[in-house]
């Protein structure tokens, strides 16, 4: 089966490539890039006005499978990923049961093979049951295909456990992805501590509750030499700590989410919109600005969604009872294009680094690049498509987006994994 994409603008900073050309894909690989190409048989599509980039990867998603399939499962989650333009995701292990052993890793991989519309990589848990106490069989999970370890959803409270676990993980070369949250400082924190927690009169989640653990983990990274990836950084000072660690030459990387970049605590009002209840919480405008600066200057390595679907009835509970999290796979690219690329804050090359190249680098995966002979995982973007975020448009089971009603410009129209379309012309296949 051959595919010819005509007149498409191909951008791949890894190849120093930004040109309008024709692309031939055959048997899952790029066969030829050039002008005025034709194929004897197969599908030819005119993609004038569209942009082709290496397949996007979101290294922070919750597919809830197994255990919470009413919120999302690997099938629906991967369809949402395809719809958002992603060809690969990294699934977090806070499922039920926890992905803390090789059998669970194998389950996800097998299930993904059967139903997924994108490549699903697995992060195993660092500690058994994500309880922060006993190390998991990381070696066995690596053999089963785990590419990273994380207790995402909570921080590892015990510094000794964290150090031992990092020391042990060193042999596998896999990064430790850390959700930085000091439990004793955060407690039942619901929203950013300060103006918002006072205004809404719910428990505060102080910036220090995040920064204290970032600082600790950077020191442990210095001690152990194990790659450390700080998940969903939200505060200006937290980012400064990471900037300094990088300057010190430590193997520290970090990610930010669109909601921490583009939303802040001011969005929370007396309606107590539970879709805006996220962990870590929405911070301040000053933090938004600092994160954007980090995106520009390279301190931020990648943009992830922390896609956290929940059922409508769970999010219909009172704010303090409702679960944390919002979905993100289907809005992320549109938001980044609208808020950062269209405005000239960053260019396409930087966007591709943040959303396609760096996640794979951090996870030590093979790069996905647009060149003859390479696997054809790519995303096609219509930069001019104007659209309004609507739950009706979501493939995810979760409708808990904090961006409902947002007017965006630019979105993925086609997603190809291994040369086959998972989304074509806006429709997931």
């Amino acid at each position: 089966m051959a595919l010819l994409l005509k007149n498409i603008r191909v951008i791949d900073p890894q190849q120093n490539l930004d040109q309008v050309c024709d692309v031939i894909v055959r048997d899952g690989k790029y066969v030829q890039l050039g002008q005025d190409l034709s194929i004897p048989k197969g599908l030819t599509r005119d993609m004038t006005g569209h942009i082709m980039v290496p397949g996007l990867m979101d290294m922070h998603v919750h597919f809830r499978d197994p255990g919470f399939e009413e919120k999302e499962d690997i099938e629906s989650g991967s369809r949402a990923a395809a719809h958002g333009g992603f060809t690969a995701v990294l699934q977090m292990p806070n499922t039920k049961p926890t992905i803390d052993n090789a059998a669970m890793v194998e389950y996800v991989n097998k299930r993904a093979e059967e139903v997924a519309k994108c490549r699903v990589y697995v992060s195993g848990a660092c500690t058994v049951g994500r309880e922060g106490k006993i190390m998991t069989e990381m070696g066995d999970m690596v053999r089963a295909g785990a590419v990273a370890f994380s207790d995402d959803g909570s921080g590892i409270a015990d510094t000794g456990v964290m150090r031992r676990m990092m020391d042990y993980a060193h042999q596998f070369g896999t990064p430790i992805l850390e959700h930085c949250q000091d439990k004793s400082l955060v407690g039942d924190g619901q929203v950013n501590e300060g103006a918002a927690s006072t205004r809404l009169a719910v428990e505060g989640w102080p910036a220090a509750g995040e920064e204290v653990e970032i600082a600790r983990d950077i020191e442990l990274c210095r001690l152990t030499g194990t790659p450390l990836h700080i998940q969903h950084v939200t505060t200006a000072h937290g980012l400064d700590l990471i900037r300094q660690a990088k300057a010190d030459g430590l193997p520290v990387t970090c990610e930010v989410t669109p909601h921490h970049l583009f939303l802040n605590e001011n969005a929370l009002d007396e309606t107590y919109d539970t879709n805006l209840k996220v962990n870590p919480p929405l911070r301040t405008q000053a933090d938004n600005d600092a994160l954007v600066r980090g995106v520009i200057d390279g301190t931020v390595d990648c943009i992830v969604t922390d896609h956290a679907p929940h059922t409508a009835w769970e999010k219909d509970e009172e704010f303090e009872r409702a679960p944390f999290g919002m979905t993100g796979l289907e809005t992320s690219l549109g938001l980044v294009l609208t808020q950062l690329v269209n405005t000239g804050v960053i260019d396409y090359n930087r966007m591709i680094e943040l959303m396609a190249i760096n996640p794979r680098k951090i996870l030590r995966l093979d790069p996905v690049t647009i060149a003859e002979g390479q696997t054809a995982d790519f995303t096609i973007i219509d930069p001019d498509a104007e659209w309004v975020v609507s739950v009706d448009d979501f493939y995810s089971k979760g409708k808990n987006s904090g961006f409902i009603g947002a007017q965006l410009k630019g979105r993925a129209t086609d997603t190809y994994v291994g040369g086959y379309a998972t989304m074509e012309d806006g429709k997931v296949q």
Binding site: E193, G194, A195, S197, T198, R199, L200, A201, V202, G204, E270, T271, Y272, W313, D316, E317, E318, F319, E320, R321
Partner: protein, 314 residues
């Protein structure tokens, strides 16, 4: 006078004139409550649901009496008797009650935002009788009414709140209300008991030293202090709290001659307030607050449930 409000949840939706309307209406209710026949026919045939999913005796009694004195039928739904304890969601509970064509929901709930949520699911008027740790609008109004009666004004009053400001529903509603009325507000307590960001509530001054500010205050509002779990306690002992922040006979000497003491009840004698002050015939307004509560709640119910054509000039 135009009191164009459907619900009473967020005190900051009321204007200065609205609050004075409540106070003057409460004054009329006071006269009613002093009669031999303490009942008005105004709400005959209407149904109020008192949806209290959190324990409360005082506020609940006050609202029940207020509704009954306006001839309203009252249905009491409490946390322990409702199916909410069986895991029913608040949305389902209110939709069920709403099917009875109720006219008023008075609700107390420990979760922030629950009153607004209920209001979204019923056509009945909603009055918050305490929510989360910041909403208690009728308490704020009854306190304003009490101050107004005793001191003759609200504007320019200097009110000091002593104690657990950060977890106080009284403060969450009364402080913004006092600011609407042009009063000056100081909060006094250790930083463990103060709000994350005092300026958000409109607090003018923050002090950790009671003696320094006592001589400046017209109203000393003491807050109920509870020591639940020692491990997470914001102060080491009740004894030490009384030593540093208790309103004692000794500290009374620092007060202005006409300064008054208020407390939302129930009192912890010997902790935040000593009996000498709590029972002080001239200074203590504690029982006035209870009576004001009845009058103000009748006034609020009357004003909210009356026709919307209430004196608005087109």
């Amino acid at each position: 006078m135009a009191f164009n409000h459907y619900n009473l949840i967020d005190i900051t939706e009321l204007s200065r004139d609205d609050i004075m309307t409540v106070i003057h209406t409460a004054e009329a209710m006071k006269e009613v409550n002093q009669r031999e026949i303490k009942q008005l026919p105004t709400l005959r045939g209407r149904t109020a649901v008192n949806l209290f999913t959190e324990h409360s005796t005082r506020t609940r009694s006050s609202f029940t009496l207020a509704e009954q004195r306006l001839s309203c039928s009252v249905l009491a739904v409490s946390g322990s008797s409702s199916s909410m304890t069986k895991g029913e969601s608040l949305t389902d509970t209110i939709q069920t009650l709403n099917s009875y064509n109720i006219d008023l929901v008075v609700m107390r709930n420990s979760y922030a935002g629950s009153s607004v949520k209920v209001a979204q699911h019923t056509k009945a008027h909603v009055i918050s009788a305490g929510e989360g740790k910041h909403v208690h609008p009728t308490q704020a109004l009854l306190d304003l009414y009490t101050m107004w009666r005793k001191l003759g004004r609200l504007e320019g009053l200097h009110v000091g709140f002593v104690g657990d400001v950060s977890h106080s529903r009284v403060c969450g509603s009364l402080i913004p209300a006092l600011k609407i009325m042009g009063a000056d507000v100081t909060v006094i307590g250790p930083q463990t008991l103060l709000p994350d960001d005092p300026s958000v509530l409109g607090i003018d001054h923050v002090s950790e030293h009671l003696e320094e500010v006592l001589p400046d205050l017209d109203v000393i509002y003491t807050l109920r202090i509870q020591l639940e779990r020692l491990e997470t306690a914001p102060f080491p002992s009740l004894r030490e709290y009384n030593m540093l922040y208790g309103i004692t006979e000794e500290r009374e000497r620092l007060m202005r001659p006409d300064a008054v003491i208020m407390h939302p009840g129930p009192l912890n004698r010997g902790v935040e307030i000593d009996s000498y002050i709590a029972d002080h015939p001239k200074r203590s307004l504690v029982l006035d607050q209870v009576f004001s509560g009845l009058c103000v709640r009748m006034a609020v119910i009357y004003l909210l449930m009356g026709g919307n054509d209430n004196g608005v000039v087109a």
